[in-house]
Symmetry: C2
Subunit: 388 residues, 2 copies
């Protein structure tokens, strides 16, 4: 049972593209990944595809076969939906299929069209990631939910709006060199502090934007990569998934994420590594506070310690543990179903010395991709390692 | 790599239950399956869950964690969506996870709430299984699409409305003893012939009803079943998946289903059996013509031969190859996301000598479950065998 290699990666520009269909965007990303891999599309045995709100944004379900056809595959396809962790879930099953020896070449990807239905439409569609009966009908929106989590964190462990602003500043700065990123503008802590309030204590720059975009990777078995002499040095060496109660009011703590903890434990054990081995990572920062919760739940910081990490410079691209070198969801953008795979694309590009990166971790060998759904009722973690 | 055993099965009543939420129905089916298995829910390591139109019918996505919580699981959960083959796709990945040795006990299931949005609402929601841009906006509905497939079949291979009526009569008769079935009333060929036209040549009794319901099974590794001395003689010994072009106009033939052919080929090879080994089966008869296409694509009949199978008595419960002993989608009902797993439930109950069955195949050892999405742009086939 050998670990799948990442043989190709592809992304569209992340941003406002209301005129582009999901199909159009996925075709671009999927074909780019296939082209990058140099693999004949006829060799592809399956598509694992993540999408979240296609029913509401495009009146389109059953996107698996639609997207397979869009990139010229004659292969079975399944759509995975786990809210914002949709393509993370897709990666997980693709890893299973390749490890099983069942399939040698698969495409994994995701797409989301969001801006065509406007901000109110997208906010309403995003809300279906929460419990409709017990949360959404009571007025809950995601900025509101993450604001509750931030307040709970401040209350239990301390921290301030300034600490969150430092995270936004860092991720905006990271996105400056990412040509796929939605937001490429530097901001200051003052800009973030002075931005309009969304849901106290979260202001505009604490929140990721609404984004259209698509992502894809090609995974192959180790033997296929060797036989075809592919440039595929990065392997997915660990996979993990966790779950939690859906509604915030059913949880014991709002400022901890057991789903991420479980996913990380499983992924570390699967890869045979621990948190100390991680050189850099992409985490699911749909809101600045989410980056804090992720770093702690991933075991990279003690509980209550990650809030100051960006301010202390530890998670910037010049720090010891760069977080979200791509700009994160915050600045790169968050086309929901595409996000999990896009994190892997960013990591692979960094390993290759291509795309947004940090020269300070040029010799990095181990990275994590952390993708979360809803208020982290679901989460996936994948370990990526350069194989020597 | 041993094949997963089916350790427990559960179903709700299939029918019109507009007052019941998907969560309420899945809780009933999931808890019934767990209870049937006798397994401690704390042993369950994951939920693989199929749902198709939750976003439109209940304004609820991210149903994986919601449904895990509903049946008391503290385990990760993923929602699979492949239109009407959603829970077939879920079974497939669950089989992978158990075969990998990654998980020893998993629940697989599905649910669909449909009647609460009315017939027009459900018809509109079902349409998202087709290509919105190129089919649905041109006025295509599923009865219309399957009518085109029936016309093409008649044109290429012969057959008549009477042949289709015989299939409806058979499946209604099969459902008479199925306490979970939506429609338990005998009909005659004349009733079917005289029923109102839906889309020529399909009339009312050629079409499955709109249905609310849920289904669940518990799968375990062989070693777990042995260690816990479970009553789990039925194993999933083969799994296959196929895909096709999404839109009918992009296909070479309308009266053949390559996605089912590919899924069957893979599943037979995986199980090490052939069509001749199949004792009985459940196929995806969303319309009567779909049963014909399925039997041919599964390699059980030559192309052009299955149209008369019911009329000849071959596929009735007293025939050599009973098809849809549960009543099929046609009479048992078709709560979309629940259907794939419900087929497995029916098969396992038959093997056990429980539920709707045929005494004529009392010594059956091998069965197939065939689940299809849209106009068979996706399909899964699973082989179930009694282990001695």
């Amino acid at each position: 049972m050998s670990d799948p290699r990442v043989a190709g990666v592809g992304l569209t520009h992340f941003g406002k593209h209301p005129e582009r269909t999901g199909r159009d965007m996925f075709a671009e990303a999927g074909l780019a990944a296939l082209d990058d891999s140099g693999i004949d599309p006829d060799d592809v045995e399956a598509l694992f595809y993540g999408n979240f709100m296609g029913e509401l944004a495009e009146h389109q379900g059953h996107q698996g076969p639609l997207m397979a056809e869009a990139i010229g595959l004659d292969a079975p396809a399944t759509r995975y939906e786990s809210a914002c962790a949709s393509s993370g879930a897709a990666i997980r099953d693709a890893v299973r299929a390749v490890r099983n020896g069942e399939q040698d070449v698969v495409v994994v990807g995701g797409a989301e069209r969001m801006t065509n239905i406007g901000t109110a439409g997208a906010t309403d569609a995003l809300a279906i990631a929460a419990d409709d009966l017990y949360e959404v009908r009571a007025g809950m929106t995601f900025p509101g939910a993450y604001a509750l989590m931030a307040r709970s964190y401040f209350d239990q462990f301390g921290g301030s709006r300034e600490d969150l602003a430092e995270i936004a500043v860092k991720n905006h700065e990271h996105a400056l060199t990412n040509e796929h990123a939605q937001i490429r503008s530097e901001i200051t802590v003052e800009d973030a502090m002075d931005a309009p309030m969304i849901a106290d204590p979260l202001h505009l720059y604490d929140s990721c934007p609404i984004t259209d975009g698509a992502s894809a990777i090609v995974l192959t078995s180790e033997s296929y990569a060797e036989e075809h002499d592919l440039d595929a040095a990065v392997a997915v060496t660990g996979t993990g998934q966790g779950g939690d109660k859906m509604a915030l009011h059913d949880r014991q703590y709002l400022a901890e994420s057991p789903a991420t903890e479980d996913a990380a434990d499983e992924a570390y054990a699967d890869a045979g590594i621990g948190p100390d081995d991680v050189d850099f990572l992409e985490v699911h920062d749909c809101f600045t506070i989410a980056e804090v919760l992720a770093l702690e739940s991933l075991g990279l910081y003690e509980v209550g310690e990650a809030i100051g990490a960006a301010a202390r410079g530890e998670t910037t691209r010049h720090g010891d543990l760069p977080v979200n070198l791509s700009g994160g969801l915050k600045a790169k953008g968050h086309p929901v179903g595409a996000t999990g795979v896009a994190q892997v694309v960013s990591i692979v590009r960094h390993f290759r010395g291509d795309g947004p990166r940090s020269d300070d971790v040029a010799d990095a060998e181990t990275a994590l991709a952390h993708n979360a759904g809803g208020t982290v009722a679901s989460a996936t973690v994948h370990v990526l390692e350069v194989q020597s």
